[in-house]
Symmetry: C2
Subunit: 403 residues, 2 copies
Amino acid sequence: MTLPLTGLHVVDLCTYVAGPSACMTLAQLGADVVRIDPLGGATDTRRLPLAPGGQSLYWAGLNRGKRSIEVDLRGEGGRDVVRRLLGVPGEGHGILVTNAVGQSWLRHEELLAVRPDLIQIRIGGRADGRPAVDYTVNCEVGLPWVTGPVDASAPVNHVLPAGDLITGAHAALSVVSAERLRRATGAPQYVEINLADVAVATMAHLGFVADVVVNGSQRLREGNYLYGSYGCDFATVDARRVMVVALTNRHWNALIRLTGTADVLAAMEKALGVTFAEEEARYRYRDVISALLRPWFEQRTHAEVVASLETAKVLWGDYRTIEEMTRSSDGLLAASGLFTEVDDPALGRYPVPAPVGRPTGWTPPAPAPAPAVGADTGDVLTDWLGLPPAEIEALAADGAIRR
Amino acid sequence: MTLPLTGLHVVDLCTYVAGPSACMTLAQLGADVVRIDPLGGATDTRRLPLAPGGQSLYWAGLNRGKRSIEVDLRGEGGRDVVRRLLGVPGEGHGILVTNAVGQSWLRHEELLAVRPDLIQIRIGGRADGRPAVDYTVNCEVGLPWVTGPVDASAPVNHVLPAGDLITGAHAALSVVSAERLRRATGAPQYVEINLADVAVATMAHLGFVADVVVNGSQRLREGNYLYGSYGCDFATVDARRVMVVALTNRHWNALIRLTGTADVLAAMEKALGVTFAEEEARYRYRDVISALLRPWFEQRTHAEVVASLETAKVLWGDYRTIEEMTRSSDGLLAASGLFTEVDDPALGRYPVPAPVGRPTGWTPPAPAPAPAVGADTGDVLTDWLGLPPAEIEALAADGAIRR
């Protein structure tokens, strides 16, 4: 079967989150992705959390569906193997995704000698070349100062490396769109994506930047409220918690009808001269609204609240722990239907997700675990370069590769 | 000049963040994107923050570089206009991105009658068809219970709608990869991407899911620490704050050399029988390490700390407010070099970013503001459908479109 990226052969020379997630996404769409691992594995090969045997579950999660070739990246022999992999002729070859820094042998101009129409996506930290990771960029966009309880005195970091993940998805998009352009023009393609750029551009897309420049706004902390409309979390009598959101009039009407607050809110609207049909007004009076709604939640069990919210078609979400998300029969993992149990010889049996884009016209590759570092060295050299066993042995004997 | 997505014509029938950001990304790569707006604009057209004139800066940020056509989506006349736009013959036409729900006229099977090889990307909430937004999904993956101060008693929501933005990037990738497959096979393409799927798949990619299943782990709150390695925030004597990260040995050695803590840490390593060269050990003893490092930061001004961190090549980030990110001469916006001031006739003058992928082989479209709702109705009907003025007038007279 032809998949969307059938025929693409991607060299993945990446560590941490953004690059590996980009190439994993490409593999899920049908690309043939080969990880270049330095001898013994990259710096993140043993990153927490670890399986009982010491293997990284984090690394395994970001490198599924790829093959791994183990190469001495410090020696010319190993680098030459990488160059030969990039120089394989053919329309879908000559694609490199990397976040390696300060490696002059990986400069685009150098590699064009190997493949004149090379596609190279370079994931970096900051525009000036200085390094950055998600945690050192996030603090600079201001989000930690507007996250957390309203009375917090210190910034609160986000736990999800969102910038990494957004960068990774854009890197995958860059590969596929660059390949489209290369097919049209035959020209090489170089695209640089920096974590810091993604973070600040995101703040612009969402209106944070324009709000400062046009309005001179200073965004304040507002706890778990949803900015700009109505969204608030509520505790139930049995100490569970739900998030309730009213973005549209339909959501809002469902919520106030259910909680029996329509009359008092109408009186308030009249006295204040506003209409809560406008989300701006719901946002401005969020504290009063929440105070009016709260008793309804506090007087009911979680089960009662959930049943009523569903019946009334309120837009809501349940606060779960990561364990509940993973293990509950009604948790997000089970509800998605996206996961298949995979037997990983090193890590054990655990569920891995299919691609997030669910296609009807083609079948994604079967869920597969991540490779062991270097598991495919011989196979890849045979497949991509057509090397005979003796030549592979010679490379191994020279220390250029490890088998 | 040929751009990566030159020749693609995308119909954007989307609200909120994911879909609009997907189509804006496609426009930045050279696609011709036409927003279908219902009469008067979609439900998010006046979403906060607003400019002084009442226009949404949020909406403007997510719809730059597109054209807008204003159509009566409740009537058959307007719907027929949409169908005709989707039915334009030619390789790059017949592409729809939408998050509309419960609209039977937008079902893929119906639209195939209009364009037998239609590409349709459908952004949804949950796999079972129930609605969801970022705030109602995030609480279900467990992150709010591991975000915030260690002594917090309630969940802490993330402020950035990361799931929306990741979904949007994957939707853009779905368009481009589906178009690649359509060119290869001629077959129609339907891809569904749900916010809830993206959220739970992301938790799997990062190892959270496997950590529960394989290890039975319960992830605890750990404040601003970086999970699994060493990363901590520190206050300076003048009440500023920095985030310091040591993912690799090089980062770690730079940090302990600068702070003069190498000897005491070596004594600790010996007594504990561990080596902080392993990030697992740095993570396990993060509280002790931070207590040893803290005085160095607390005794220095922010300026002194920053200068020393830079000289020592420590991996670090500065806590800034959103205003500082936007306005400071050394803030992330200025440092990126990615922004151009744009004059928006309705909103004023403010900086907008270029695409986050910086290409060397082609020039992205000039930064442009978002269209006014319906600003391009006539132009698009002329360009795409070749309608003569009289026919456009007739559609307007019938109420199918607004001019």
